[in-house]
Symmetry: C2
Subunit: 237 residues, 2 copies
């Protein structure tokens, strides 16, 4: 199936490079193939292509296969609020479960591919495979903890601390994928960073400037090199 999809080289969860990130560790080979059957693979996306819009009926959660995804809501005053950045191996869309509608919109920040996991099938499978149920409870709980750290960040930290924290978060998530934790390309714009961190573009820009002057960072547009990981961690605390 999906012969027209150029990204579709890895056809099964069992073969996917990301499976150690998005699947429960305890899953048996047999169970993986059960999960495999309900996953709709591929779904290639162009930059700025939407996966779903806020308000749409909730049907599936998604795993990032390649590229990067941004989740955001729109306030009733019409302002955008970025609620998350999702990198390969990460799951998103769980905000939709509560009211059977997505509360966020999700779009590709660059060319990307996602796996779609129909939630009703996942629920049924969770009854057959208890460790899968457990895994999804854990996944959602981690999302809660994540959101709560962001709350703390916004409520207690300065602009510099916020930016440092985001950079380290991306660095760590890259390392989990066996990529460099010190040299990488930011998939999002300065505006998205500012929006996510509750700052203006100007402030983000200035913080990058200061970090460069202090030789913590080397910034070339979206390319980042972290020169002093330790000091950055101290800042992020």
């Amino acid at each position: 199936m999906d012969a027209k999809c150029p990204h579709n080289t890895e056809v099964h969860c069992g073969d996917c490079r990301m499976n150690s990130l998005c699947l429960p560790l305890a899953l048996q080979t047999k169970e993986i193939s059960q999960l495999d059957e309900i996953v709709q693979r591929g779904r290639p996306l162009q930059k700025d292509g939407h996966i779903y819009h806020a308000g749409e009926e909730f049907k599936s959660i998604f795993a990032v296969r390649s590229g990067s995804i941004k989740s955001y809501t729109v306030t009733n005053q019409g302002q955008e609020q970025v609620t998350g950045f999702h990198l390969p191996g990460e799951i998103f869309g769980m905000d939709g479960i509560g009211h059977n509608r997505y509360t966020n919109s999700a779009l590709a920040m660059e060319t990307a591919a996602v796996c779609e996991i129909p939630f009703s099938s996942l629920q049924e499978l969770s009854i057959a495979i208890p460790s899968l149920q457990r895994h999804f409870f854990q996944l959602m709980s981690k999302e809660i903890t994540n959101d709560q750290s962001l709350i703390t960040l916004l409520s207690k930290n300065t602009a510099e601390e916020r930016v440092a924290t985001l950079l380290l978060s991306i660095a760590n998530r890259n390392m989990r994928r066996k990529l460099s934790g010190t040299r990488f390309r930011l998939p999002m714009s300065r505006a998205d960073i500012g929006n996510y961190l509750g700052l203006t573009v100007e402030t983000v820009s200035r913080v990058f400037g200061r970090f460069q002057k202090q030789n913590l960072l080397l910034v070339d547009k979206k390319e980042i090199e972290i020169l002093d990981f330790e000091k950055l961690q101290a800042l992020a605390n």
Copy 2:
């Protein structure tokens, strides 16, 4: 059992005044009694008594039966961050699932009683009762959406908007419990409000002052009377 607990007048979930809030609507009588068997009722708490501390092994989630509970984390710089206020009928403790440890601490802001629901039993029961599984997925998802609205509030709104939003949230939650939405007692201190909303005590105090001067509110210490619900909603937007 638990003869020493003076709050223990309602002995079963089926009889509990809060059950329409903390149980899934679709649950059959038979299923309610199954759930009933795993719930450990009562647990009376004094003001400032802890239900659990951050870092402790996660065993159970909790439902508020009476009184009110505050969840908070402590940053590695030692500052407290209030992450939620829980009123009767509400569930808390789900942050612990992700890493098998509570990431928040929870304490009673006044004399309170909670029901303890051992998570392992709940997981097993969820396999037997699919609508219960669904209910818990929904509950956790709603927690995510809630946290995300707080993120938006902190990231985009002024002090007045934040305070107005919190007041309306409490008013609405009181109404869900068939209590007055316009006259109520705040269970938390100004410091807790400020901490939760990313503001200082002084700012919270000033906002209350301004709201009184504008005849939106009547404030007497912790007693609140909302005089102009509409205008407050317009502010909270």
